[in-house]
Amino acid sequence: MTDWIVLGLLGVLSVASALGLLLSRNAIYAALFLVLNFVIGAVIYLVLNAPFLAVVQISVYAGAIMVLFIFVIMLLGAERLTPAENPPGLNYQRPLALILGVLALGLAAYVLLTRQASAAPVAQSVDASPTAVGLQLFRNYVFPFEVVALLLLAAMVGAVVLTRKTE
């Protein structure tokens, strides 16, 4: 029962931080709300007995990626862009985002309603220690894992090539 209360509370907080992200006019605030959102996500993992995922969530998303985001925002001094200053040609994005958002919400609602209701979160029985995750990754899912690694490498090389100064 306590799990449900805690998870519900975290869910509300998570939605609130996500709304904060969407509604902030200031890019730094938006980024900070995103960090908060990630941290809440990590806490949810912890409650679901998956400390490894929680810690990875913190160190990768909150600790590395978002720091880069904030770095870039500070670097460009672009934290206070007004809508008028948005680059032209992106006006189609607002309705598109609306449609996609409604679709995602509908999907979630569909799953929630049609799914067999179980008594408690299932995570309790799953072993989510680093060892277990590692074994899963390198035994059952080694091919997707390597594919993702290759994809990231390609993205990295691409970024290096794109940002290199042309001589």
Binding site: S59, G63, V67, M74, E79, P130
Partner: protein, 337 residues
């Protein structure tokens, strides 16, 4: 005792010790560095200057709280707290002594990862302080902080990875235990001797993470006045100060845990309280090394620091993890699981 009460009490005790430790670390630093520099250091407040931290604290509390024009208020006030909190959080997983009495969450099976993750959160306070201050020097300081910490986090994380491989566990309690295998007598089992490269990388990255001299470019007084804390005064400044020192204690404690055998030492089985003493001694030695380096070396230049982080430290750390893994697979003496 219910677990909630126990954890709360332990945390409170830990925070009390850390904040006192911070105050007296600042005194230790001033005294020690004064000796290194042919000075005497503070000796007016109380016997041997022992009340100096109290005097400093009182002074800072009674400073007028000035908020400069044009700052982004919520973040400006939030930033100092964001520096202190991760530094304190690091201690949750560090075993400061033998037995459950002296440990909070040391048996967390992702302890080492937790350390890396929390350490990486510390940069927010500094970067945001620089951004919110509405000051060009502060922004430069904040940017430097963000870039520097990302660069050195990788090196640090990978050196910790090598340690985790050696101990075949990411729990800090296990890592301490792994440094005392049967076949080694005494300190030869320390990862300092079995993982010297990782230890060296950890030390260098630690200096950069804490942003202490010679890597104190974030606050480089002579270049950026005081970097991200240029516009801060009074208790808000004191919080930054506190964050830096607590973090310094934290990385010293981590170095002790990862490489110096943690709390272990002779006769800990007979008298567990000795383990806390050993741990404290090791941490203080690390702290003195921190201070000593500050008194000796000039500051490196920002671009050179970044070059070193990305082009030297990171590849070497990566190679070290690889070599360690291979050695463990081969089961060489000292690397056998």
């Amino acid at each position: 005792m219910p677990v909630v009460v126990e954890v709360t009490l332990k945390s409170a005790a830990l925070i009390f010790v850390l904040l006192t430790g911070f105050a007296y670390l600042s005194l230790l630093e001033r005294k020690f560095i004064a000796r290194l520099q042919a000075r005497i250091g503070p000796n007016r407040a109380g016997p041997f200057g022992l009340l100096q931290p109290v005097a400093d604290g009182l002074k800072l509390i009674f400073k007028e709280s000035v908020t400069p024009k044009g700052v982004d208020k919520p973040i400006y006030f939030l930033a100092p707290a964001l520096v202190v909190v991760p530094a304190l959080m690091l201690f949750a997983v560090i075993p400061v002594g033998k037995g459950a009495t002296f440990q909070l969450a040391s048996d967390l099976n992702v302890g080492a990862l937790y350390v890396v993750g929390v350490m990486s959160l510390a940069v927010y306070g500094i970067a945001l302080a620089g951004w919110a201050s509405n000051n060009k020097y502060a922004v430069l300081g904040g940017l430097r902080a963000a870039a520097q910490m990302i660069a050195y986090e990788l090196g640090m994380g990978l050196s910790v990875a090598a340690v985790v491989l050696m101990a075949s566990s990411a729990s800090l309690a296990d890592i301490v235990a792994a440094q005392y295998p049967e076949q080694y007598g005494g300190i030869l089992g320390w990862f300092l001797f079995r993982q010297p490269v990782a230890a060296a990388i950890f030390v260098i990255a630690a200096f950069a993470e804490v942003a202490r001299a010679p890597f104190d470019l974030v606050e480089a007084e002579q270049e950026l006045t005081a970097g991200f804390m240029t516009e801060y005064g009074g208790m808000k400044f004191a919080l930054f100060f506190m964050g830096e020192y607590v973090k310094m204690i934290a990385v010293s404690a981590l170095f002790t845990t990862f490489f110096l055998g943690g709390w272990s030492g002779p006769f800990v089985n007979e008298a567990p309280i000795l383990s806390v003493v050993y741990f404290t001694i090791k941490v203080v030695v690390c702290l003195l090394a921190f201070i000593w380096v500050r008194a000796t070396l000039p500051r490196v230049r920002y671009d050179k620091l970044m070059d070193m982080g990305w082009k030297v430290l990171f590849p070497v750390a990566l190679a070290n993890v690889l070599v360690t893994a291979v050695l463990i697979l081969l089961g060489l003496p000292g690397y056998r699981l």
